[in-house]
């Protein structure tokens, strides 16, 4: 195979089409109901606009509220009650909107508890170095590690044995992979520093939100730092030079700031060495 695109093209071409047939009657029926509902909502919204303009105008024209105040039980108040803000239609929202307030899961640093249990797969690669604990989640220790396995050299798209920075959960018996993140030494583009994560995630207690980032930087460093959007700098939550010899692997987590967009714009680096932001050198899952 020559590229990922070719490989995906092959998979798509081999994919069988669905059999069966659509229920056109039901589709049209649902469509008509939807259209009717939209017209009603649009009509009520128009009434609300007329009311909003018309009532103050009438008040001004008549000299005061005492003379024209509508009956609280009358049509005006009924109309106001029915014209609550229209909920956004699904098709009018971007995926980012939907993902923004997605709460299908609660998360540790990187692991999230999804409805689909296939999110956690047993690690099949060889763990090559230290397993760095990040915290506890889902009854185990959330860990950062590098697994060596057959994968793809992302610079050439060729099959190769690769080292992959993973996040997982170790329950003492089994290591389950939760994130296949980045590949030291076989990433395209800047090879010295790569990041993964930085999205808004629900706290494990369901009370707030946080972000989690994992990554690596070439070389063995005592300190890896993160610079927040407000310009402040601090050491990352944890780092290790033992996860993969010749590299410094790290993880970082912190409270989510409401003003941030859907991804935290954080810059990671080492003093006097490479640095890069999540938006430039980062991947997401």
């Amino acid at each position: 195979m020559t590229s990922h695109h070719d490989e995906l093209d092959r998979l798509v071409a081999a994919e069988p089409a669905a059999t069966g047939s659509p229920d056109l009657t039901a589709i049209r029926h649902a469509g008509r109901r939807l259209r009717t509902r939209r017209r009603i909502v649009t009509g009520l919204a128009s009434l609300a606009v007329v009311g909003a303009i018309g009532v103050p105008t009438a008040l001004v024209a008549s000299g005061g509220p005492e003379a024209t105040a509508p009956d609280p039980a009358g049509p005006a108040s009924a109309g106001q009650e029915k014209t609550r803000p229209r909920p956004k239609d699904v098709e009018s929202r971007t995926l980012e909107d939907l993902l923004e307030d997605t709460e299908p899961s609660v998360c540790g640093v990187m692991a999230c508890r999804f409805v689909r249990p296939a999110e956690y797969t047993k690690e099949s690669g060889t763990v090559v170095g230290e397993v760095l604990p990040m915290g506890t989640f889902d009854g185990g220790t959330e860990v950062l590690y590098v697994a060596r396995l057959r994968g793809v050299d992302l610079r050439t798209s060729e099959d190769a044995e690769v080292d992959v920075l993973m996040a997982g959960i170790d329950d003492g018996r089994t290591l389950r992979r939760t994130v296949w993140a980045v590949q030291p030494g076989t990433e395209p583009g800047d090879p010295d520093l790569r990041l993964y994560g930085g999205s808004k995630a629900a706290d494990a207690d369901g009370e707030g939100h946080h972000y989690g980032v994992i990554g690596y930087v070439a070389g063995e460093h005592d300190v890896v730092e993160v610079t927040l959007p407000d310009g402040s700098t601090r050491p990352v939550s944890g780092s290790s030079t033992g996860v993969l010899p010749g590299w410094t692997a790290f993880y970082d987590t912190g409270a989510w700031v409401d003003e941030w967009e859907s991804r935290a714009d954080l810059t990671y680096g080492v003093p006097g060495g490479p640095s890069c932001s999540t938006l430039t050198c980062g991947s997401i899952g």
């Binding site: 990922h4 995906l8 998979l11 798509v12 081999a14 994919e15 069988p16 089409a17 669905a18 059999t19 659509p22 229920d23 056109l24 589709i27 049209r28 649902a30 469509g31 939807l34 259209r35 939209r38 699904v90 098709e91 929202r93 971007t94 995926l95 980012e96 939907l98 993902l99 997605t102 299908p104 999804f114 409805v115 249990p117 296939a118 999110e119 956690y120 797969t121 047993k122 690690e123 099949s124 690669g125 060889t126 763990v127 889902d138 396995l149 057959r150 994968g151 793809v152 992302l154 798209s157 690769v162 089994t174 290591l175 296949w180 590949q183 859907s262 991804r263 991947s283 997401i284 899952g285």
Partner: protein, 165 residues
């Protein structure tokens, strides 16, 4: 165009679009019932706005609506107990074996966002720029997501059955 002509046009569109749309829905949800609901909902919305939808590009419209509907359905779900977590496809509404394919295996372990990128970009053949814009990511991220997903698939094939060393 008369009302009946619009209906005929819509029926022809559904007949042409349905097989791929229905499969895309299954690739996203891995659940036959949910896939049926997603497609039905996307097509009903298209029917409700058919004149406008046709001008916008009917295929692009229903594809976007389908993926949005999938993400929305994920959003409305609740977390499940820890003890349901396990290997392989053991989620509720498990697909019949015949529905599985290399592509569906590729998609199974991906997050909803990653799965949406692959299905929308490659299976439904949407422009990279549109997928990136709707997801709020760069086109590079769309590409790298596909690369990593494929890498996982190959890794899974080459190490299938092996336990942790």
């Amino acid at each position: 165009m008369a009302r009946s002509d619009l209906d005929v046009e819509f029926e022809e569109f559904v007949a042409a679009a349905w097989p791929r749309l229905r499969r895309a829905a299954w690739l996203l949800s891995h659940d036959s019932h949910e896939a049926e609901d997603l497609v039905q909902s996307a097509l009903a919305k298209a029917y409700a706005s058919w004149g406008r939808v046709t001008r916008e590009g009917a295929y692009a419209y229903v594809h976007r609506t389908l993926v949005n509907g999938y993400i929305d359905s994920v959003r409305r779900r609740r977390p499940v107990p820890v003890d349901r977590i396990g290997d392989g496809w053991v989620h509720g509404g498990e697909a019949p074996v015949d529905d599985r394919s290399e592509l569906s295996e590729l998609l199974a372990p991906l997050s909803p966002r990653e799965r949406s990128i692959i299905v929308w970009r490659y299976y439904l053949d949407a422009p990279e720029s549109e997928v990136a814009r709707q997801l709020g990511v760069s086109t590079g991220t769309v590409k790298s997501t596909a690369s990593r997903a494929l890498s996982r698939l190959r890794s899974a094939h080459s190490t299938a059955g092996k336990d942790r060393p």
